[in-house]
Symmetry: C2
């Protein structure tokens, strides 16, 4: 029974890592489509959302089965409950990839923008945070999780700077308004990806802290 449980837990982790890869890929592809002004690529991100939604439901069902059949407690229980949250967070990151891709499709109907302003920098930070959060989960590494938390203020500041810059452009040229709104939308969605990476990192810290708590309790017991 114990070995079976370990296997199921490994299977759950593997599926979450797969989900994380698809979510990362969705963001990367949407931003690549933005740089290369590639509507086919952007549409591919929009169409790919069904896959991540299906995997989310599969993982949720696996979680129900795991809890019902194995009735884990303590650290394992917290890990599985955190897995449900992380699953949901990753699905939402996929949604943000779709939102970005939709904005790219909107931008491609307009004249090319001179500059993407803070978007390349924000993309690098958001992707780095997501990668670190997923690595922190894979290796159950709270130290790495904490670095993600520290990165979040930086991206919030970039998002605010971005809005100020776009508003300035809009005020000097009303033809920049439609495209400017799409750039703000992309910026906001990247900022939300960073928030969700932060959520995942917090869950990793929560799981590993529970380990520490359990450890101390065992020592006392």
């Amino acid at each position: 029974m114990k070995r079976h449980f370990e296997q199921e837990l490994e299977g759950l982790k593997t599926n979450l890592i797969k989900m994380g890869s698809i979510a990362e890929e969705s963001i990367a592809l949407a931003i690549k489509a933005l740089h290369s002004r590639d509507s086919v690529m952007a549409q591919k991100v929009v169409d790919g959302d069904a896959r991540i939604n299906t995997l989310e439901i599969e993982i949720d069902n696996a979680i129900v089965d795991l809890l019902a059949l194995q009735q884990p407690v303590a650290v394992d229980l917290r890990l599985i409950l955190a897995a449900q949250k992380i699953n949901n967070d990753l699905e939402r990151i996929g949604d943000h990839g779709v939102n970005i891709a939709e904005s790219v499709l909107g931008l491609l109907k307009l004249d090319p923008y001179d500059s993407l302003l803070e978007i390349p920098k924000m993309t690098t930070v958001a992707q780095d945070m997501l990668r670190n959060a997923l690595d922190a989960f894979i290796h159950q590494d709270p130290r790495l999780g904490r670095t993600v938390l520290e990165q979040d203020d930086g991206i919030d500041a970039l998002n605010r700077a971005m809005v100020v810059q776009v508003v300035e452009l809009m005020k000097t040229d009303k033809n920049a308004i439609d495209g400017g709104l799409e750039l703000i939308r992309i910026s906001r969605n990247l900022e939300r990806v960073a928030d969700l990476a932060t959520n995942i990192a917090e869950d990793v810290i929560f799981i590993t802290q529970a380990k520490v708590v359990k450890h101390h309790a065992e020592e006392r017991g």
Copy 2:
């Protein structure tokens, strides 16, 4: 043990209903502050967010305890897993209340807008959806849950109409740009509240469908 479990489950439901009330209140107060141009009221919403965050953690901890100590299966297990999701959705609705209140504070620094366009209509629909989703959860009523799902397209359409109207205003008057961005932000946040109400309704349908499945299995058994 059984009676104790029922009590804990009732306690969990009661806390979620309390969380729902606070989330509803946050949206209602933020929109009231918008209409009455009341910065003190808007600030109250921003400051009130700590309360909903604390309650979210309390509920999450109660869920861990309930699963660890009672090890429920089938319908009860699905109800508790759905409760974790609903808890998170309600916390996010509180965040949207804060976002709206922040936009109100932004708007109050500018000249009053002539019209709030689709915002009053969107508020009515979003609040109605949230109320119905919470009622569906309280009474475990999938029929009411389905009415929430049907309302979601309407608010998406209002949000799109809103953006078109604001962009038109921005293009004719560059002084409308700053306020217009805040109105779009409020509109988008109301649309997200409606999405989250839809999530809650879907969870209620999921729980009650599991009941049906269990019922059939028992009949066969």
